[in-house]
Symmetry: C2
Subunit: 254 residues, 2 copies
């Protein structure tokens, strides 16, 4: 008899973002799989085995977890944020599609989590208050030309843009190029939010403008939100500004 695969979103930070459903699934697991730093956020429990792996080993991790479920265990695979947004749920589906036929019969429960853009947006105000998109800037898994086409489409149609995986040591120039590209469509004054390590030690929020965004430091723990031409900034005395995108749009762009 086979067990159950639970794919769990931990949210982007400490346990404030954990849902009841995620907590229950963590408790029900015989084995935990995940990228080491995510697994470190989950308290140890007796009789639960732990299988940390590196952040480029998603395929191997998915494979090992599925084999373990097929052997009869209740297995939790943890993701930071939401498992369905640039994370483990798609990696597991890829393995199920190409793996042994028996894997299609497995019991799978995917448990959503707070994805980084929602946590960063909440800290900043309501920048995602109107139509928006989420785009990974990593060109490891898709051609850079496609990323540019998507930046063009999103900015010219007035979507607010959340940028995941903005920069890494192996991808040092892409982020500045993306800001330059967006500047073809958006005013220099467009608000840009850098949310670094939200909900974790070292959390830092920076609100700047598109023309200065290239000078702001980012890394893989940063989620960036680029406003639309409608996005507004409310200055506040003694407090961080509120950034929001109004719910309504006038006819001007149509």
């Amino acid at each position: 008899m086979s067990g159950r695969l639970m794919v769990i979103g931990l949210g982007p930070g400490d346990d404030r973002y954990l849902t009841r459903e995620a907590l229950a699934a963590l408790e029900a697991a015989d084995a935990l799989y995940g990228y080491g730093p995510y697994l470190d956020r989950v308290p140890a429990r007796e009789c639960q085995s732990r299988h940390p792996s590196g952040n480029r080993e998603e395929g191997a991790r998915a494979d090992a977890a599925l084999r373990h479920v097929a052997d009869g265990a209740n297995v939790s695979v943890v993701s930071g944020g939401d498992p369905g947004v640039f994370a483990m749920a798609a990696a597991l589906c890829e393995k199920i599609e190409t793996g042994p036929e028996a894997w299609r019969a497995l019991d799978i429960l995917i448990i959503p989590g707070i994805t980084a853009m929602l946590a960063v947006a909440a800290r900043a105000g309501a920048p995602l208050g109107h139509d928006f998109c989420a785009l990974s800037l990593s060109d490891n898994l898709k051609p850079w030309e496609l990323i540019e086409r998507r930046l063009d489409a999103a900015a010219s149609a007035g979507f607010v843009i959340a940028l995941y995986n903005p920069i890494s040591r192996a991808r040092p120039w892409q982020l500045a190029t993306a800001f330059e590209r967006l500047g073809r469509y958006l005013p220099a004054s467009t608000p840009v939010i850098f949310g670094h390590a939200v909900g974790r030690p070292g959390e830092k929020m920076i609100v700047t403008t598109l023309d200065k965004a290239g000078d702001t430091t980012a890394d893989m723990a940063t989620l960036i939100i680029v406003g639309s031409s409608e996005t507004r900034v409310i200055a506040r005395p003694g407090r961080a500004p509120l950034v929001y995108t109004p719910r309504s749009v006038e006819d001007a762009m149509a």
Copy 2:
């Protein structure tokens, strides 16, 4: 001395989606504001006043809540899903920008929640596993021509599309028109997911294709996800299919 405004995402369904942070904020409130059915999900507590209102009274609700905070109360405004996604956080920011100067000094905490597209995606597999956008189909607050421009941009650039507010009694034709529009860019076989009342009584998931999507019933409790040309469906014996969008894209579109 003024109180604190807490803007809380309850998630799309029952309390399985509540985060620890949201629970704590609900307990800390002197007063609760929200659309009646969302407020009904929050257990009553002594010494906590409740202020339900209708779903078209967002502006008036925001105004009343801000006055209450300025009077010194700890006020929670609850939203279904995430308060920053087509919900109360933007309505509150609009009131703060145009309201009394003193409102800018208020203590505000926005608490993210599981937004409907994440819950529906988790039920279906991983349709949002690659670049995606979220678009409200309501033309109450923006011109229909702009919605069409955004559908065109998103579909032609290969974004998976989550449709919020797909249909209502006052907007009966827009959804079918949107599917027709998307059919200009996407194959007839593109997977389309209808997630109805996810996490609530009467939950229903339907997976269909773009050419048949217009024949599927939807209402305001439905969240629709339209795949990209990359989105795949895995048939499973005795189980609902898994729908997912692979993490990588070949060079074909570039």
